[in-house]
Subunit: 495 residues, 2 copies
Amino acid sequence: MNYAVIRYILGLVILFEGAFLSLPCMVALIYREARGIPFFAVMLLCFFVGFLLSHKKPQNMQYYAKEGFVAVALSWILLSFFGCLPFVFNGDIPSFTDAMFEMISGFTTTGASILSDVEVLAKCSLFWRSFSHWIGGMGVLVFILAILPMGGGQNLHLMKAESPGPSVGKLVPKVRQTAKILYGIYCFMTLIEIILLMFGGLPLFDSMLLSFGSAGTGGFSILNSGFADYSPYIQYTVTVFMILFGINFNVYYFILIRKFKDAWKFEELKYYLFVIAAAVLCITYNIRDLFPTLESAFRHASFQVGSIITTTGYSSVDFNVWPEFSKVILVMLMFIGACAGSTGGGIKVSRVILMLKTVKKEMYFYIHPRSIRKIKFNQHVVEHEVIRSINIFLITYMMILAFSTLLIALDGFDLITDFTAVAATLNNIGPGLELVGPTSNFGMFSDFSKVVLMFDMLAGRLELFPMLVLISPITWRDTKVFKKIPKYRKNSPGV
Amino acid sequence: MNYAVIRYILGLVILFEGAFLSLPCMVALIYREARGIPFFAVMLLCFFVGFLLSHKKPQNMQYYAKEGFVAVALSWILLSFFGCLPFVFNGDIPSFTDAMFEMISGFTTTGASILSDVEVLAKCSLFWRSFSHWIGGMGVLVFILAILPMGGGQNLHLMKAESPGPSVGKLVPKVRQTAKILYGIYCFMTLIEIILLMFGGLPLFDSMLLSFGSAGTGGFSILNSGFADYSPYIQYTVTVFMILFGINFNVYYFILIRKFKDAWKFEELKYYLFVIAAAVLCITYNIRDLFPTLESAFRHASFQVGSIITTTGYSSVDFNVWPEFSKVILVMLMFIGACAGSTGGGIKVSRVILMLKTVKKEMYFYIHPRSIRKIKFNQHVVEHEVIRSINIFLITYMMILAFSTLLIALDGFDLITDFTAVAATLNNIGPGLELVGPTSNFGMFSDFSKVVLMFDMLAGRLELFPMLVLISPITWRDTKVFKKIPKYRKNSPGV
Ligand SMILES: [K+]
Ligand SMILES: [K+]
């Protein structure tokens, strides 16, 4: 284990967090909030700790999948640790466990809250909460990669560990360029959303925070009523942007370089839009009697479908009281999730498509035993290795889901609450059903359950394996072996 | 598609059903029940239809996976169709849909009932219901293979399609011998259970029916109270036998031929017993305050754990009122299911073990990228193809689960009812939670939902693919292709 590299990466991450913290400090200055002082203090602390860890660049910058996973997992935990301190110190969230839960929920773009009243928070706290979604959506390491020349050819490890989806393609040969392009598109789209929301009459502050939440598919709201009290214009605008941020960013890149045909070749995009359309239609029909007009039924159905499939988790209405059929559709969307390469969570549309294709191929094989049929995706043959890794992802995912539900069931809440609480955190959605429905929060869980759910949020955001590698005894047990046989590692290829 | 072979196999199955129907006729004679007359009539009908279909043996007895799957799927549907007619005619279950549901539930060893009062049924009806569990547990085609010399070397297709588990091993080189040995062990163990239950003071009739239900892991009870009113001796005996019938029958074969060491080498057996022990301990502790003595808490915990993991579905107590933690454990056991090669359903312990090993291997690979580590099971290296087929099974299983839940949600019952109703039928368990809990039944579902659940019961019992191949348009669309290019089929190898 190359500890020096991990130390260095963690140092950089904490330094950057210090820089990010300057933003809520500015908000506190503008609104003259005394509760902003802890943000200033923690910013200085981050600069200090970050400098201590990162000022000595390690001589050997070589690292492998293992170090990459450990570094990413620890980065996100430290990010949340330092990020939650201002809440504890300024009294907005006095309990450390709760503050940590809220912050992990922020960075992982889950948006599950332990707060029953968000309107009493200081403006700087509200800003920091929503900003964590924005930076967490695209990834903090991707951000650092875009800014800093890190050296070493294996930065793709970091990007892979932090980016959602079965296979992270580099848009351009260089990791740094790819990271820059991604953040460029991300900033531009966020800006457009902010402007459109301001057109709808929202103040700049509110527009920014809501845009951060939808861009990162995060879902922290700034009113206790969520999106229920906003105008239809705002609701429709946010619906559209949630759906846009759930699309693979490669599509935007192709649009950017004017390869419109290539953009439309993405199979995942078509299926994603089809699923959204089908779900909106079914739910609109199913809930039509609950609303005064068909338009409002359609508006709320679209908002909720867009919010859940992209794993944003905003709510314009309490869908917990909807008919069962609509709720089952929403639960299914929770698992499907957004497109790979977007800021959303869940299993991802492309994985679901490839799973369906695998089953279809198997059926075909039973019927025509001699046929040789390859699975194709985006008009290319899918390599066996991709299918294998999707299968393993699914199995691992199911196991974490089952085991987490079992653990939080110790609190004794009902099964739907437990199951959807885990589903909503593991898929980085936010609200579930029943006691964790859109009008409720996660405050009633025991500290033990909160830790389980924090693990699930991180596991979900980092696509399971970084967190599993971090807590696996094998990772730490075999450190000695590596020290004894350095040659073994030197020759080992990056994954 | 070799239609002649399918016709012939279906004919044999219906002929044998006629023979089976002679048993309830005898019961009706003994108890002098007029409601037995329809059994006699349907028996004659079966002999007639069976003879019509099977008297002309096809010249070409070659068949492949496709024909095997279609034949097995249709066999089970026809078996249930003819089997349910006596209930409709003698008025015990006047609705055809309900009778069909009850009979499919019987043959697939699900044990989910639409009856709210089973004590009003005629003795012959009660007998036929429970006997369907017994024949369905080991399989009707396996029974025919044991009795009849069928010719053709591909009878393994039929046995594979009907036997549970990821890989059906032949105990001895000949399929017919294997089938005989399996049924021999099955009969012997059922007999022992009947005798032990009679020792406990139960009449022969009750002992037989309860033994049929536990041997086939079926779960139809003969009292409305299930097992609540039986003595602890009866409850413990049935617990032990449920667990025994959930074990891979290969273990008994090795014991039979005195290879005790080989019997104990089955990894699945150890994990199965470990999971049972762990679940019983956790649940006993969790429910200890609900019962007057620790012994009764232990007894009911064991009974329920044994009943659910083996997918029998008998209940000694209403576990729907147990604490959430215990209920989550039971729901997890529903999915794990019994051992492969037993009469039980579910995903099967061996599949779950292999999935866990796959994840462990993947983790190990991330940590030691150059390591070459093979998955071993029962001290043998597991072939890649087995892992692949397990993955496909799991994906298909999840999809049927999700889609069925969506469809029955149209009835508007609560989510837990819907989800556990599908889980209880797809895993061939019987009772679920809430409205389909152990004290309730499936009578309230719409006919549409009942058809969905019937499909799930058959899909679960036949390990998904025979039913999918049956309803797949590809199966029927390409029939022409086969007729045009007969050479293609001749050379095609059996799967
Ligand atoms: K979210
Ligand atoms: K059963």
